[in-house]
Amino acid sequence: MVAAGVLLILAAGTLAVALARWPGPADRAFSLVFGAGGALTAAPALAVLAGAPPSELRFESGIPGGPWVFGVDALSAVFLLAIAGVGVACALYGVAYLRGERGARAVGLAHLYVALLVAALVMVVTARAAVPFLIAWESMAIAAYVLIVFHHQHAEIRRAGLLYLVATHAGTLALFALFAVWGAGATDLTFSALAERAPLLPRDGGVVLALGLVGFGVKAGIVPLHFWLPEAHAAAPSHVSALMSGIVIKMGIYGLLRVLTLLGSAPAWFGWILLVLGAVSGLLGVLWALAQHDIKRLLAFHSVENIGIILLGMGAGSLGLAHGSSTLAVLGFAGAALHTLNHALFKSLLFLSAGSLTHGTGTREIDRLGGLARRMPLTGVAFLIGAAAIVGLPPLNGFLSEWLVFRALLHAGVGGGGERIAILGAAVLGLIGALALACFAKVVGIIFLGVPRDPAASAAHESPAGMVRPLLVVAGACVLIGLLPVLVLPPALRAGRLVAGVAGGVVAPDPAAPPATVFMLGLAAALVAGMLVTRRWPNRDQIAAQTWACGYAHPTPRMQYTASSFAAPLLALYRPVTGVRTHRSAGAFGTHAIDPVLERVLRPAWRGVRAAARWARPIQGGRLSLRLIYVQAAVIALLLYLLLEGRTP
């Protein structure tokens, strides 16, 4: 079933290239087949989440590492849903988004690579053996790279692509090491075999977990391994950024969850590390986001923030594993899984809307926009929903998953053991939420409200239906998930139980789900009702006038608050941790952000390596006699070795 879906998706990509000569049919065929493939992929995932037994598919391949196994269990299912849903949305959006570039660039190829990327993603979450997993993993990375450098005529995009490529390849090498350590001396590298070897691992799996933290951490963009993320997301076409931020980076989370599932246990220190990293990523992510002026870079940093929230959940879960508290473990992992899914939805929603408004205005500079809610109403609504969701406001899906994570942390607190300190994570969650609110108040307010700050914005037009429709669908999904905890929680908990290694297929219903559902529905009803009531308020006469500027006669657009000035007070207060430079001029105030990790650590380090290499260059001087001396040196060295070893045969 899933296999068929993957094949259809690949077929869609091939069609897009094959029919390149006839754009119309090509687009229709691509959308149709791709959609069908997505549906086929999602169906079994839903079945498994509804309680169907996990399926498995295995066949022998002649290559080292044992048989290839693929399968769908609750954990894969959650990610499969995200991949299928967001993947289809982004692919269809991409059709409309790239239509304008036909002729200039190989649009068909772009669609093909989107298909490849999604197929690889499906393989990643269904693979049940090391080798196919690694193959799928790197295929995903490479496909993503090709898409990121789609506009490779721009130097900065090439740089961003290279940075991403290097980062992800380094991560892959760490994964090589992970599986090499885990499968050391074994012939069979299937996950089931690895799970059996788990007890034999050194430092009860510590090495493997550390390697996983590096390898998967790079992909997930955990601070300080996030450095590639904003660059790449800003460089890619918007529907690709949506895929990257929505799903691709989640594969890092999936990997860690899968490793924990296979290990079946985790040392306490790992849980604490996850919590600390989660807190750091969450806070720095949102603070750095506040400092951005490029809407896509800003959203990218929010991905770092949300990865932090997910890590908080995983940290709580791991602590549950370490201290043998299954409630804690289930809640934590379930929260992580659900937030992954939710973030996939609302973050892709935000990126797609950002793409739509870039498409409509031709700029990504927040400070040049404004008043788009009037000119691009649908995009505005979609973006607003996404913003409310990512901030974690009820009654949207973001709240639901943060609520699970929150509950996990509270449980850690009421638990008797050493894990109680974890409850402080809840406060961090609160702070992150407040900062995110500040950030998105800025984004929504400056971009969509007020009046245009720039001709580009005043000339804006709503995007074609092909782009808007996917937006509204995803937005609808965000609302529905938020409103119906009673439907959403059981599957999430099922995934959580799988990772937590809690035996027994039957999931105990979550007592909190029904009242929460009632409450959310009630709240939604109240909001809607309130609006309707105030619309037709008795005997109210409404006067349209100019904004009250406290006596000032003619307020001009330039008098409006800008993103820079909006975020300035916060950034000033958090200056020590945010790498922000402020520059004032007579008539303008601006800030620009630099990434401390990249600018202050990595680039200098790399410069050092290059300097060292340049210093060693003369070794390869042109002199022949010099080179012969090397040979002679080798001979003499070996002779000495011979004499020394020779003594003791």
């Binding site: 009037r374 406001l393 509270l410 009421v414 300190i421 108040a441 007020g450 006067i543 406290c550």
Partner: protein
């Protein structure tokens, strides 16, 4: 849910608009003036509801939705508080987050409504509002966490209800700290002195007031009522912490609550008359201080 809970809620909402009046009255009394009547806000509300409203032509539906969402979210939040000292009309595990989330929702709505006008004053106010909120939020969460640790309960109803009494006998100092920092948060969240001055008329110094500068008529009425309710809710929170009322029967519990809230309002008035308003740059320090108190409480409880 119990009827007493609903009754308590009803009474609270009805009485909320009196609280600002009480505060102002206290202030006037302490400065030896007669001051406006306690029920002034009721009159204002009625008057505003009758008026029409002016909308800036830069605004969109977001501007109109603001007040409604703000009020609705506050009412919903009110449903989560165990006003009768027993249990809230709605309660579920981790509903503390829902409480905080609803407050945030209201704030988000108002801030966006303010930004919708495109006025630099509203922009300024919005910026300050979210900035200070980001300092108040950890304080609130730490207070709730402290309560969770003190009572080992994970619902508002639980931790402000039955097991609070036992907690007082076990961890009084921590709870006192929590109460104090909640009171500071109350001042901040409701834009009272020393954080903000509701009586000021200089837009540049305003925080909350300046956001709603462009609202008029029924919209303004909703906002004013909303802020009164917010004050009442925080009052109920403070009282809930200081006075465990699980033992008392419904009517008495409610009476105690109302008295307590009134007392809080008086305290607010006192503070306003003895303190001056802080410089804006000092506000974060105050809020951080409140958070620090709560953190101290948490540490006491974790130890």
């Amino acid at each position: 849910m119990t009827w007493t809970a609903l009754a308590a809620l009803g009474i609270l909402l009805a009485g909320a608009p009196a609280l600002p009046g009480i505060a102002i009255k206290t202030k006037a009394f302490l400065s030896g003036r007669r001051g406006a009547p306690v029920l002034q806000l009721y009159y204002d509300l009625v008057k505003l509801l009758r008026k029409g409203s002016i909308y800036s032509n830069t605004t969109t539906w977001v501007f109109r939705a603001g007040p409604v969402v703000a009020l609705a979210s506050l009412l919903a939040a009110a449903l989560l508080l165990p006003l009768d000292g027993q249990a809230a009309p709605v309660h579920f595990e981790g509903d503390l987050l829902a409480f905080a989330g609803l407050l945030a929702l209201g704030r988000f709505a108002l801030v966006l409504a303010g930004l919708d006008t495109g006025s630099s004053f509203e922009g300024m106010g919005a910026s300050r509002e979210v900035t200070f909120a980001s300092f108040a939020e950890p304080g609130l969460f730490l207070c709730l966490i402290a309560l969770v640790l003190a009572t080992s309960e994970v619902t508002l109803s639980g931790m402000l209800g039955g097991s609070l009494g036992a907690a007082w006998s076990r961890a009084a100092p921590a709870l006192v700290l929590v109460g104090i920092s909640l009171f500071v948060l109350l001042l901040a969240e409701n834009s009272r002195v020393p954080v903000d001055d509701p009586a000021t008329h200089l837009e540049l110094t305003m925080i909350h007031e300046v956001i709603v500068l462009d609202h008029s008529g029924p919209d303004l009425a909703l906002i004013l009522f909303g802020s009164a309710v917010k004050l009442a809710l925080f009052g109920a929170l403070v009282v809930g912490v200081f006075v465990p009322r699980a033992g008392l029967n419904g009517a008495l519990a409610i009476a105690v609550l109302l008295a307590g809230i009134a007392l809080v309002a008086v305290l607010v008035g006192v503070v306003e008359s003895v303190m001056a308003r802080l410089r804006l740059t000092r506000v974060p320090q105050l809020l951080a201080g409140a958070s620090a108190l709560a953190l101290l409480a948490v540490i006491l409880l974790l130890r």
